[in-house]
């Protein structure tokens, strides 16, 4: 009986394991292999150990891209998740036609491909197609440009905030809906206000959902590619290594440096892994202290 269980269990896992092997482990392994090779002068490849990685860690273009997505994430993720959480707390207590409409419309950008979102916002940002330049300039700013070197990163973070706030709000809202009502009905009886309940009772209870959205946001941010790539037509802010992914793409497909591109991809995967692990460890420890 036990053996039969074991065999059946594995049988059900097989298709999944095949896909994991073919499309996750094999490419990771291959990237690792490629990253330890380099072109030789006579043609062909030779083993160079960690040379490509050593190079990547001192490559100013790569490091600048990493730094950029880090700073981007440090600013954009907290703003987005703050908005998502506030929205979720509101629709958790207000149940009207307006709040249901809001819930649906806030989620809608999730169904819009990143390419289309970038195109639409690109048009909205542009001086000839969109209203915003005119609006900003009528407020007093002179020669405002959403695509200038300084402003562009905020223009991108607005697109990403637009796309993902509703999605994260729905995840947090679902967690709120899963809470047992008795917990905060006791607080109401004790005379707590809505805001007190939200901060003292609900927020701690949905910590895990917020953590989940944080981790997904980090993973997504480190991989930013689509928005800057589409909008590069309008701006000269998007350099060769604007984000690590854009860099790796250009290295591989514009410069044919596959070995170094593999090292960059692999380093990116490790950085994502380490950052999420750190976030998990920090939040776990915090939970224990409380």
């Amino acid at each position: 009986m036990k053996l039969r269980q074991s065999i059946t269990g594995w049988l059900f896992m097989i298709p999944f394991l095949i896909v994991v092997l073919a499309f996750l482990i094999a490419p990771l392994g291959y990237a690792l292999y490629l990253s330890t090779q380099a072109d030789t002068l006579v043609g062909g490849q030779e083993f160079v150990g960690f040379e490509n990685y050593k190079f990547s860690l001192t490559d100013p273009i790569f490091l600048e891209g990493v730094k950029r997505v880090f700073i981007f994430g440090l600013i954009q993720i907290p703003i987005m998740l703050f908005l998502s959480t506030v929205g979720a707390l509101v629709i958790d207590v207000v149940n009207t036609r307006l709040s249901r409409t809001f819930r649906l419309i806030a989620f809608m950008p999730y169904a819009v491909p990143g390419v289309v979102a970038a195109l639409m916002w690109g048009f909205l940002y542009s001086e000839s197609f969109g209203p915003f330049v005119g609006i900003v300039e009528s407020l007093g700013a002179k020669d405002f440009n959403f695509f200038s070197l300084k402003v562009f990163i905020y223009s991108v973070s607005n697109i990403i905030t637009w796309a993902w706030t509703g999605y994260n709000m729905i995840i947090i809202y679902s967690a709120l809906q899963g809470l047992s009502r008795e917990v905060y009905e006791a607080a109401i009886v004790d005379g707590a206000t809505q805001i007190q309940i939200a901060i003292r009772v609900k927020l701690p209870a949905i910590k895990n959902a917020i953590l989940l959205t944080t981790i997904f946001a980090i993973i997504g941010t480190m991989q930013i590619f689509t928005e800057p790539r589409i909008l590069a037509r309008y701006t000269n802010a998007v350099s060769n290594g604007y984000t690590p992914n854009i860099y790796s793409f250009n290295l591989a497909f514009a410069q044919s440096q596959f070995n170094y591109a593999a090292a960059v991809s692999f380093t990116l995967a490790i950085v994502v892994f380490v950052v999420t692990a750190i976030v998990l460890a920090l939040t776990r420890r915090k939970g224990r202290v409380e």
């Binding site: 269990g9 491909p113 959902a209």
Partner: protein, 293 residues
């Protein structure tokens, strides 16, 4: 019972904050709708009006039909090839991902076997692997077996869904009691029949969720098809629209392609938005199962 308490809650304590909350929600609705309104409004304009009329309101002429006609005929109807490609790629990978992760999730939740705990930890680790880091090595691998620039190169990798397996596992644990499976086994039902006839129907809400999320992620995917596909007859909408947009920007403002990019963007987002409106109950319920844990 929860219905009762819910209703009580609705009336009890909300009134004081409602006005602020309503204002915030109205502003937010406006923000989320702006780009969509822009696309709808501007898909009715020709190139001249695009530049000359106020961008968030309709012009004095109506060119929606001309733009749609242009969309259908440009490059020999290429847009609808892209539309069909997108539908085929994303439905195929979503069906595959749903079946594969339902089997894996069911196995993890209800079978005891050696190595299971390693697999469970592995799945969580897999969720954290950035998908784009896999694309370049995958391209090189697939080019060796002549699979790049084929639909398979886009469909097969998208069947990988560790998060789907995780979601199904949680759902099985919460909603499929061990006793039902034992009863079926006593009746000598085969394991695959139990999965097919008992487990799958009970999993329906979770399956719809995994299906929808895989569908959206491949429908919206840009990086994978951009790398894998080189002939435009294989492009999905995302890569195709991008290529038109690149052409339009190169030719400057005179290009007819701007209208087509806008009309194309509008048509591209309609199917998913409509399915999300109709399937609201499912995706909300399904997310619920995943996030409580």
């Amino acid at each position: 019972m929860s219905l009762l308490t819910k209703n009580k809650k609705k009336h009890g304590y909300l009134a004081p904050h409602s006005n602020t909350a309503n204002l915030v929600m109205i502003l937010a609705i406006g923000y989320f709708l702006v780009p969509i309104v822009w696309v709808v409004v501007n898909s009715t304009k020709d190139n001249l009006q695009l530049f000359s009329t106020f961008s968030l309101w309709f012009g004095n002429e109506w060119h929606l039909m001309d733009n749609l006609k242009g969309l259908m005929t440009q490059d020999g109807g290429l847009y609808f090839t892209w539309m069909r490609n997108t539908a085929v790629y994303s439905i195929a990978s979503a069906v595959g991902a749903t079946i594969i992760s339902s089997m894996a999730g069911y196995s993890l939740a209800r079978f005891n076997f050696k190595g299971r705990s390693i697999l469970e930890a592995g799945i969580l680790a897999m969720v954290m692997v950035p998908a784009t880091a896999l694309v370049m090595p995958l391209y090189l691998m697939l080019s060796k077996i002549n699979l790049v620039n084929t639909p398979w190169s886009v469909i097969l990798p998208a069947m990988l869904s560790p998060f789907g397996a995780f979601l199904i596992r949680v759902y099985v644990q919460e909603s499929i009691p061990e006793e039902i499976l034992q009863a079926a086994r006593i009746d000598r039902a085969g394991e695959f029949r139990i999965y097919w006839q008992i487990v799958l129907p009970m999993l329906r809400p979770a399956l719809v969720t995994v299906f929808l999320f895989s569908l959206v992620s491949s429908w919206n995917n840009f990086f994978l098809p951009l790398v894998m596909l080189s002939e435009n007859k294989y492009y999905p909408l995302t890569v195709g629209l991008q290529s038109w947009f690149a052409q339009a920007s190169q030719e400057g403002g005179n290009s007819i392609l701007f209208n087509l990019v806008i009309a194309g963007a509008l048509i591209a987002i309609i199917p998913l938005i409509i399915s999300f409106i109709f399937l609201q109950k499912y995706w909300q319920g399904g997310i619920n199962a995943g996030s409580i844990k």
